[in-house]
């Protein structure tokens, strides 16, 4: 089919105003938060499941790639149209369809912004737990696509632990439901398979999420250290002592410096690292638990501990953490974030090796990460306009992922493979393992229409 004709058909399906194909639009939708670039042939803003189905059916018939897109904040090139095609941008499908308190669920369209849902729920005393640092912008569809994590996932689990079901559009435009409010259907866990599949197996058009009661009490602490090693040892020790905090986040001095320049969260500029430790639950016993954490920190040479006295102070401590990625661009124009994850006892050793890589290549590396989960985020800082430096940064990133894989970890904890980490998949998988994934992809998308070229190397 000619491009003009395809566009006309799309316009018929979703309305003229909801198909974008100007030069500027196509270039804009060629990016996401990663460093990769591509170019779409058309961008469609669907308003309903039926429209998604029509567009996907057309794409299937014509063999045009379909790339689902939320806010494009993923860090792995997951929404970059590497082979052209139609970008399905879910900004118009952004309604919270149902809040079902008795069944502890909400049903949303994929374009709902994560934080919007969370703010609405909190007013009613409930939580949707997964809280990626990008929650102000990211969509729930994107969270499902990447199986996103966040600071509170240490205690509450990642996105997949909170997705009960979804209405999905399959490769040929068929609409079907997977899972639902019923907790226990016999059969394969297809929902579990689709979460984190980066839009390559199915496209979610409605999502049923689990919600939980907001905890009765929260204690947020900032522990300040003069050495990274002491901070990482504290992380292991807290867990070993039988405490599972809601969060255990770490930041090093490079990141703190950047954060202080932008949001003034009150982090000490002369410290080597800080931990944000949050405990939550019933108020009973929480003080004793906090005292125990304090004692563990002391045992590991903490310099100082600040306890947030009220919600405003808590918000201030968190503002720095949540704004950290954005803030580092004050130091250098670009960053590349490695999402390698290791068993948490390996943190001190792996962090050292990461810093060695930085030294070796003469690159500035900042660390801000989900320490409790062993999920590192070394931010390699560089300038994209300097082609040589960019290449060095990419080499360093790959080396860091290798270090994580060799330490018994993995190459991505929450950001996904996309196209950026395709080459590193063989650090952790054999060809037979990858072939298993290809079989699944072929079973669910035989003509390779859904986000082709992502997740599994050819």
């Amino acid at each position: 089919m000619e491009r003009e004709e395809a566009i006309r058909k799309l316009q018929e399906s979703v309305g003229e105003e909801n198909v974008l194909f100007s030069d500027v639009d196509l270039t804009l939708y060629g990016y996401d938060a990663s460093l990769e670039k591509g170019r779409a042939d058309a961008v469609v803003l669907p308003g309903s499941t039926d429209q998604v189905s029509l567009v996907v059916r057309l794409a299937y018939q014509e063999g045009i790639p379909i790339i689902a897109r939320g806010s494009g904040t993923n860090l792995s090139g997951g929404t970059v149209p590497v082979r052209g095609g139609i970008v399905l941008h879910f900004s118009r499908m952004n309604k919270i369809l149902e809040v079902d308190i008795p069944n502890r669920t909400v049903t949303v369209e994929p374009g709902v912004i994560t934080l919007d849902l969370q703010t609405m729920l909190l007013k009613q005393g409930f939580l949707y737990a997964p809280d990626p640092a990008s929650q102000k912008v990211s969509t729930l569809g994107g969270n499902v696509g990447e199986n996103s994590g966040g600071p509170h996932c240490l205690k509450y689990g990642v996105t997949t632990n909170h997705v009960l079901g979804a209405e999905v559009v399959l490769y040929d435009g068929t609409v079907t439901w997977i899972g639902g409010k019923n907790p226990d259907n016999p059969g394969y866990d297809l929902m579990g398979l689709i979460v984190g599949s980066e839009g390559t197996l199915a496209i979610a058009t409605k999502i049923i999420l689990r919600i939980i009661r907001a905890p009765e009490a929260i204690k947020t602490m900032l522990a300040i250290y003069d050495s990274i090693e002491d901070a990482s040892n504290t992380v292991s020790a807290i867990i070993a002592e039988g405490i599972v905090p809601a969060t255990l986040e770490m930041m090093d001095h490079v990141v703190m410096e950047a954060v202080e320049k932008s949001v003034q969260a009150g982090y000490p500029l002369d410290a080597a690292a800080v931990l944000i430790i949050e405990l939550d639950g019933l108020k009973d016993g929480l003080d004793r638990q906090a005292a125990k954490v304090l004692e563990i920190c002391k045992r590991h040479n903490v310099r100082e501990i600040q306890l947030a006295r009220d919600e405003a102070e808590r918000a201030r401590l968190w503002a720095g953490r949540k704004g950290a990625f954005g803030a580092v661009t004050r130091l250098r124009p670009c960053y590349m974030v490695c999402d390698g994850t290791v068993p948490r006892t390996k943190l001190p050793e792996v962090l050292n090796q990461v810093m060695e890589v930085g030294k070796k290549y003469g690159l500035l590396i900042g660390n801000v990460f989900h320490a409790g989960d062993g999920n590192l985020h070394p931010l390699i800082l560089f300038d994209e306009r300097d082609e040589a430096e960019k290449n060095t940064a990419m080499k360093a990133a790959s080396e860091i992922l290798k270090i994580c894989a060799d330490a018994g970890g993995t190459i991505s904890g929450e950001h996904g493979i996309g196209i950026e980490k395709l080459r590193e998949m063989n650090f952790i998988f054999t060809e037979d393992d990858l072939e298993t994934m290809r079989k699944i992809k072929r079973a669910m998308d035989p003509k390779d229409v859904l986000n082709p070229g992502k997740v599994i190397p050819n």
Partner: protein
């Protein structure tokens, strides 16, 4: 089975680990089907060898773990080889500092928990109260041990592979979740006899497709699970159980609703029939009324938390009209749960025959589902009992055959038909877990067909195109 194949199997396994005498085989039948051979591999490589031989000769393989759930599902269409995992019984990596454990498929669940808790911390184990010395009970002490936060029934028998393959769960799913919330990685043998590894040792992992989750609940139809990595939690400081008796299902559920609406975080809220209740809690006098039932609320965690949950539950229970209540601690608490995890087991012994049906539905519809199911069974003259994970929307209904009464089968079929309709009307579903009758095949064993069934068939077709794994056993024949 022909000698060439047997010799090939034997080469990889040793003669001791292969059984092919027909006199021995009947003990290993699944339903009415006897295997052509039984194999006992001791390593993953041996499993791969067996599957390779099977794939080359188009032989069907059924896997057996502890055998507690072999009655579940249809009889296999073919079963040339029964693969027993009993020799795959090792913990391969115990990393309590990272809160992960890796163990082989044939390991019994209670043994894994035992290994994790360590000698010092046996108190958390739901071992038989008789087989344990008094001073080993250590309720108020600080622990270093860990546990797999999963509590499938029959922990002394069920194996890790069987639990994952059957997606088994228990009361404490309310607080800790189900297998999908703690399985981090799997090594399995696929239909070509290749060893496949997915997932890993980290709690966060989005590298490639989440094949581990796909494997959960696959009932041996996608591959032979050999080794699994699970996340652990530190042992709770203490635990206690509040049990209360109620006049009616309605009263009992008003306690359940009150707890669910509160900020309390109990590990389990179980609801069960009067007969079960009286047997499990001799501390309570028999409560009056024909429709009476019990609720047990399990609290685990810091001692202050356990105290608070107990106290608040008593208050809420009183407001819901409880007739009697008791807080079980220490030995009483242990033996209550020990017995609870054996409910529904008589199917395996020589007791009266029974039919066990698992029902599930959106949490808020469980009361209606259980109430109506009981009424229907009473109307048909069938003796039934229930126990349910009341805060999770999952329940079990047991129909006991009192005597070889007239038309038992017809009444059961009629009841099952009504139950199925009821499930459809409230977005629920059912699975027949046990029914050792020749007419089992007439029951809706896997409940209501699901909209995503088509996709399951595609996956099965993609991963096991020749259909060598458990043919015909599972949902819609996948």
């Amino acid at each position: 089975m022909n000698d060439v194949i047997l010799r090939e199997l034997e080469e990889g396994l040793g003669a001791d680990n292969l059984m092919a005498e027909s006199s021995e085989l009947s003990a290993y039948s699944v339903g009415s089907v006897s295997p052509g051979a039984v194999v006992f591999p001791g390593t993953i490589e041996e499993v791969a060898h067996i599957v390779k031989v099977a794939a080359e000769n188009n032989l069907a393989i059924v896997v057996r773990g502890g055998g507690t759930k072999m009655g579940l599902g249809r009889d296999p269409e073919r079963m040339d080889i029964l693969l027993c995992t009993s020799r795959l019984g090792k913990v391969t990596d115990m990393d309590t500092a990272n809160l992960t454990v890796t163990a082989q498929a044939g390991m019994r669940f209670a043994d894994i928990q035992g290994a994790l808790a360590g000698e010092e911390n046996r108190c958390y184990l739901l071992v038989s109260p008789n087989g344990r010395e008094q001073d080993e009970v250590c309720f108020e002490r600080e622990h270093g041990g860990c546990f797999v936060p999963l509590d499938p029934p029959f922990p002394d028998m069920a194996t890790l592979g069987g639990i994952v393959a059957a997606n088994s769960s228990g009361p404490r799913r309310l607080l800790y979740g189900t297998v999908r919330d703690m399985l981090l990685g799997v090594r399995f043998v696929n239909a070509e006899g290749k060893i496949i590894g997915v997932g890993g040792k980290t709690v966060k992992n989005v590298s490639g497709y989440d094949v581990s989750r796909l494997i959960i609940g696959s009932m041996g139809t996608l591959g032979v699970l050999c080794e699994m990595t699970l996340r652990l939690l530190p042992l709770p400081e203490t635990a206690a159980t509040t049990v209360m008796g109620f006049r009616s299902l309605d009263d009992a559920f008003s306690l359940v609703d009150a707890i669910m609406a509160s900020q309390l975080t109990p590990a389990a809220i179980e609801l069960f029939g009067k007969k079960t209740g009286v047997r499990l809690t001799p501390q309570l006098q028999e409560i009056g009324g024909g429709d009476g039932c019990f609720v047990a609320v399990l609290a685990e965690g810091a001692s202050e938390v356990v105290e608070r949950i107990g106290a608040d539950t008593l208050d809420m229970g009183a407001r819901a009209g409880s007739l009697e209540s008791v807080i079980l601690k220490g030995d009483d608490h242990l033996s209550f749960w020990h017995d609870y995890y054996q409910l529904g087991r008589s199917d395996h012994g020589n007791g009266p025959k029974e039919i066990v049906v698992r029902v599930s539905c959106p949490i808020s519809r469980l009361k209606e589902l259980l109430g109506k199911a009981m009424n229907e069974s009473a109307a048909l003259g069938l003796a039934s009992d229930i126990f349910a994970h009341a805060g999770s929307g999952v329940g079990r209904i047991i129909i006991r055959e009192k005597e070889e009464g007239d038309g038992f089968k017809e009444r059961v079929l009629k009841w099952m038909g009504r139950l199925l309709e009821l499930c459809i009307s409230i977005s629920g579903n059912l699975v027949v877990e046990g029914a050792a009758y020749p007419w089992k095949g007439e029951l809706p064993i896997w409940g209501i067909s699901r909209p995503e069934h088509d996709l399951m068939e595609r996956i099965k077709q993609g991963m096991d195109p020749a259909g060598i794994f458990s043919p015909g056993r599972y949902v819609g024949g996948v």
